[in-house]
């Protein structure tokens, strides 16, 4: 089903993307996203700094993590992000049904990430590893925990978007813009994990 041209400004047309991002709401989401990413960068710097000062402890603790969980979760979030990229393109073309389907797929990938993460936490806690075990695990629970909260928020947004769209109706310009802003947030969740993954799981 095509979006009615009268409800969708030319700005949101796929051929006019250069002007589309000048919408004020887009500037606002970027203030939030870059601010959030900057806070994470500061945490990453602190983590590396303390890691250098007690390398052996961090390496021994890191060896207790399951690298494969981290890797699979990275692939899941990348897949989820990519589905949202295609969903945005579908929505701009007015293909609501396809957009909903892809959003559902992205949600499931995110949900799989969270299930694996909860399983990982459960495994660690059962092994007696907690926030207070040592500095490495303090960073581990802090970074992955804050990221997890972002992820759960994103899943809530994706779920909301999925149920808001009616496949039989055309999307309004506001809905398209809201979807684009939510997509930026969801990509940020992916982006943060892309950095957390090597820092906690891969560093030699």
């Amino acid at each position: 089903m095509m979006i009615n041209d009268t409800t969708l400004p030319m700005k949101l047309n796929a051929n006019a993307r250069d002007e589309a991002e000048d919408l004020p709401a887009n500037e606002t989401i970027w203030v939030f996203v870059l601010g959030d990413m900057s806070v994470f960068s500061m945490f990453f710097c602190m983590y590396i700094y303390f890691r250098n000062s007690n390398l052996e402890l961090y390496q021994q603790s890191q060896a207790l993590l399951n690298l494969h969980y981290g890797s699979i979760n990275t692939l899941l979030l990348l897949a989820s992000s990519w589905l949202i990229v295609i969903a945005v393109a579908a929505l701009r073309k007015g293909e609501i049904r396809l957009c909903r389907l892809l959003t559902g797929g992205a949600f499931l990938c995110g949900a799989a990430f969270s299930i694996l993460k909860v399983f990982e936490y459960h495994e660690k806690i059962n092994a007696g590893i907690s926030f207070e075990s040592n500095d490495f695990f303090m960073f581990y629970y802090l970074l992955t925990g804050i990221h997890f909260m972002h992820l759960v928020t994103g899943l809530g947004v994706l779920g909301y978007l999925y149920f808001t769209f009616r496949p039989t109706e055309s999307a309004t310009a506001e809905q398209v813009n809201n979807f684009e802003l939510s997509a930026i947030y969801w990509h940020m969740v992916d982006l943060l994990w892309i950095l957390i993954f090597p820092l906690l799981y891969l560093m030699p």
């Binding site: 991002e21 250098n52 690298l67 982006l191 090597p198």
Partner: protein, 84 residues
């Protein structure tokens, strides 16, 4: 294509992480490669997924500034520059 590249780099990083010293015997170099690959992936996500390549100059500059400052700080710290 971008997604495929992101998946391939993730797979390569996964292998590097699972087999330390396969590429470099010096941990500092290996750490730098892993972090630079991650920041390259981040730049792809920002430009192509978040569509910053089509965004206003302000958003482009702000996101590039975040990327450069974060990348330089984290990679430099991973070399132990600050503690030396």
């Amino acid at each position: 294509m971008v997604w495929l590249l992101l998946m391939v780099i993730t797979g390569a990083s996964w292998m590097l992480g699972a087999n330390h010293s396969i590429l470099f015997t010096e941990p500092a170099k290996e750490a730098a490669v892993l972090l630079l690959l991650a920041f390259f992936k981040v730049r792809l996500v920002i430009r192509y997924f978040m569509e910053v390549r089509h965004a206003s100059i302000l958003i482009k500059l702000a996101s590039e500034a975040w990327l450069i400052v974060s990348c330089v700080a984290i990679v430099a710290l991973s070399f132990g520059v600050s503690s030396s």
